[in-house]
C-alpha cells in the first residue's frame, strides 16, 4: 500500500471536502482517514489516503491537486507519508 497525506488549508466555504473527494474517487485513490477542524475561521483538513491504485504518477496527482486547490481557493498538498514517518518516528 502506498499511503500519502493530503492537507487542505484555507478559508472555509461550502463544498471543499466534496470537491476533493470527488477528485480522489475519480483518480482511484482510497480515503483511509479524515480529520478536520476549523481554526480561526480557517479550514484545516488532513486525509490519509491509499494511492497504490491511483491513475497516473504520484507527482502528477500532486500537481493536479494543487491546481484543484487554486480553483477552490485553498491550499492543497499531497505528500508521500514517508516524509512524516521518517521525521517523527525512529
Amino acid at each position: 500500500m502506498e499511503k500519502a497525506i493530503i492537507t487542505v488549508v484555507g478559508k472555509d466555504q461550502v463544498g471543499i471536502i466534496a470537491k476533493v473527494c470527488a477528485y480522489l474517487a475519480d483518480a482511484q485513490i482510497n480515503i483511509l482517514d479524515i480529520s478536520q477542524t476549523i481554526l480561526d475561521g480557517f479550514f484545516n483538513m488532513m486525509m490519509i489516503v491509499d494511492a497504490s491504485h491511483a491513475k497516473g504518477e504520484f507527482y502528477e496527482i500532486a500537481e493536479e491537486l494543487e491546481k484543484l486547490g487554486e480553483e477552490i481557493g485553498v491550499n492543497i498538498k499531497l505528500q508521500h507519508e514517508d516524509i512524516f514517518n521518517k521525521m517523527h518516528r525512529i
Binding site: D33, T37, F58, Y59, A62, E81, D82, F84, M87
Partner: protein, 454 residues
C-alpha cells in the same frame, strides 16, 4: 499513525522556516575518460557526464513533488581535473578546454553547478597540476557553472606553501579577469586544507579518487528551522538548548536521508553520504547568524560567538549522526558572510571582523567563506590569510577553506552585489601589516606531530 500535529509541524518547517534539501550531488569518476589526446579526453568526459547525469534534474523534481519538499540544487562533482588532464594537457589552454567541456555538460543536463576543476597538491605539485592552477583565472572567466578548488594542505602532509603563494596570485588574477562583474570569479574558487572526497557543496565539491564510479551525496540544510527551535528554549540552560538543537537536527537529517535513498534508487546510483551542514541563504530567516543571536548574543561577533557556534555545530552533528548511518562531506555550520543576511548586518554594525571569523572557523566547517576584501589587498597578504586558515585545519585535523574575493576597484565602506544565492557583501578591512617575507620563503610546512596533544 501520523497525526495532524506532526503533519502541521513538518509543513510549517517547509513553508515558513525554509526547510529544504540543499543539494543532490552526483559524484562522477572521470578516471576512465583519460586519454593522451585532449579532444578525445573532452569527448569522453562529455559522453560520461551527460549519460550518467541525464535524469538527475528530472528525478530531483519528481522527489520534490512526492514529498512536498524543495530540493534547491542539483549538482555534479567530478574527479579532480588535475589528475584527469595530466597526460592530455600541455598548456593552460588545454585545461581551459576541459573547463568548457564541463560547462557544456552542466548546461546540457541542467544542473546548477559542476565542481571538480581541482587539484590536490597538499604535498607537491605535478607539472599538470601547476598548469591547472594557472588556468583557473581564465577558466573562471570563460565558464559560468564550473567551480574550482585546490587542496593545499592536510594534517598528514603539512602545508604546501609554494602552492599557497601561487594561489594568492591566482585569486588576485581571477578577481582582475572578472572585475566587470565585481570579481565574481573568486566566488567559484575555494582553497582547502583536508578537503573531503565526498563533499556535495560548492564551490569545493569534487569526486575523490577513493570514491566509486558514481555516487549520490546529499546536503541538507535548515538554519531557519533550528533558529525557531532555539527560540522555544529561550532562557533555558545549556543542557536544554543542546537537546533542542539535537532533536531538530535529527528531523532535518532524516528528510535528507529519505531524499538520498529515493534519488539513489531512482537513478540506480549508489548512495554515498549525507552532509549535515547547516547552510544559510540570503533569504530572511535562513541564517546561521540568527541561530547564534537567538542563543543570546546581541550580534554575531560579540564575545561568546565562538562558543555558541561550537554548540550549534556539535549538536547538529550529534542529532544528524543518529538520523543517518553514512555521514560525510563537510558536516558543520557554514558561515559565509555574503549569503547570510544577519552576518552582513553584523559586519555593517562593526560587530564582526575578519579576525573573529577566523576564530569561528576553528569550531565549525568550513572556513573564511564569501568574504569580500579591498581590491588593493596584495597577493601575499591573501596568501597569508590562506596560510593562517590552512594551519587551523592542519593542526586541528579538520577541513578548513578560504573563499575570499578581493573586489577590484572597491574598498572598505563599499558593498558588492553577487546576486542570487551568493548574495551581497560589505567589503571588510584586512590587516595591512606585511607578511611578504614569510610567504616568500617557499617550500612546505611539515606535518604536525600527532601525539602529545594539548
Amino acid at each position: 499513525m501520523i497525526n495532524l500535529f506532526e503533519v502541521a509541524e513538518t509543513n510549517k518547517m517547509i513553508e515558513q522556516e525554509n526547510l529544504d534539501v540543499r543539494t543532490i550531488t552526483i559524484g562522477i569518476s572521470l578516471l576512465d575518460c583519460m586519454d593522451a589526446n585532449i579532444d578525445v579526453l573532452c569527448q569522453n568526459i562529455y559522453q560520461k557526464i551527460t549519460s550518467i547525469a541525464k535524469d538527475l534534474v528530472k528525478t530531483g523534481e519528481a522527489i520534490e513533488k512526492k514529498y512536498g519538499i524543495p530540493i534547491v540544487n542539483k549538482r555534479i562533482s567530478v574527479t579532480p581535473i588535475g589528475f584527469v588532464g595530466a597526460s592530455a594537457c600541455h598548456s593552460t589552454d588545454d585545461f581551459v578546454k576541459i573547463a568548457h567541456t564541463l560547462d557544456r555538460c552542466a548546461h546540457v543536463v541542467g544542473v546548477n553547478f559542476i565542481g571538480g576543476y581541482s587539484a590536490i597538491v597538499s604535498k607537491g605539485m605535478t607539472k599538470a597540476e601547476r598548469l591547472l592552477i594557472e588556468s583557473i583565472p581564465q577558466a573562471m572567466r570563460e565558464t559560468e557553472l564550473v567551480c574550482s578548488s585546490v587542496n593545499v594542505g592536510s594534517t598528514k602532509t603539512g602545508i604546501n606553501m609554494d602552492a599557497v603563494k601561487l594561489i594568492g596570485e591566482i585569486v588576485k588574477e581571477t578577481a582582475e579577469l572578472t572585475k566587470e562583474n565585481d570579481s565574481i570569479g573568486c566566488a567559484k574558487f575555494v582553497v582547502f586544507c583536508n578537503a573531503p572526497d565526498d563533499n556535495p557543496f560548492m564551490a569545493g565539491a569534487f569526486h575523490g579518487v577513493s570514491e566509486a564510479d558514481s555516487i549520490i551525496n546529499v546536503g541538507v540544510s535548515g538554519p531557519g528551522v533550528v533558529r525557531n527551535a532555539i527560540k522555544t528554549a529561550k532562557g533555558k540552560d545549556f543542557g536544554e538548548l543542546c537537546e533542542t538543537v539535537k532533536k531538530t537536527a535529527f528531523k532535518i537529517t532524516r528528510v535528507g536521508q529519505l531524499v538520498a535513498r529515493e534519488a539513489s534508487a531512482a537513478l540506480n546510483i549508489p548512495f554515498g553520504i549525507i552532509d549535515l551542514s547547516l547552510a544559510p541563504t540570503p533569504a530572511v530567516g535562513d541564517s546561521i547568524a540568527d541561530c547564534l543571536q537567538e542563543m543570546g548574543l546581541e550580534r554575531v561577533g560579540a564575545p561568546g560567538t565562538t562558543a555558541a557556534l561550537a554548540i550549534l555545530n556539535d549538536q547538529v552533528k550529534k542529532g544528524g549522526v543518529m538520523a543517518s548511518s553514512y555521514v560525510g562531506g563537510l558536516s558543520g555550520a557554514f558561515i559565509p558572510v555574503s549569503e547570510d543576511q544577519s552576518m552582513i548586518d553584523a559586519v555593517e554594525a562593526g560587530a564582526l571582523t575578519l579576525e573573529k571569523l577566523e576564530a569561528m572557523t576553528c569550531v565549525c566547517s568550513v572556513g573564511l567563506d564569501m568574504i569580500a576584501i579591498p581590491g588593493k589587498t596584495s597577493a601575499k597578504t591573501i596568501a597569508g590569510i590562506i596560510a593562517d586558515e590552512m594551519a587551523i585545519g592542519m593542526i586541528n585535523q579538520k577541513t578548513t577553506a578560504v573563499r575570499i574575493i578581493p573586489v577590484v576597484g572597491k574598498d572598505v565602506g563599499e558593498t558588492v552585489e553577487f546576486g542570487g544565492l551568493l548574495g551581497y557583501a560589505p567589503i571588510m578591512p584586512v590587516n595591512e601589516f606585511s607578511c611578504d617575507e614569510f610567504i616568500d620563503r617557499g617550500g612546505r610546512i611539515p606535518a604536525p606531530i600527532h601525539s602529545f596533544k594539548n
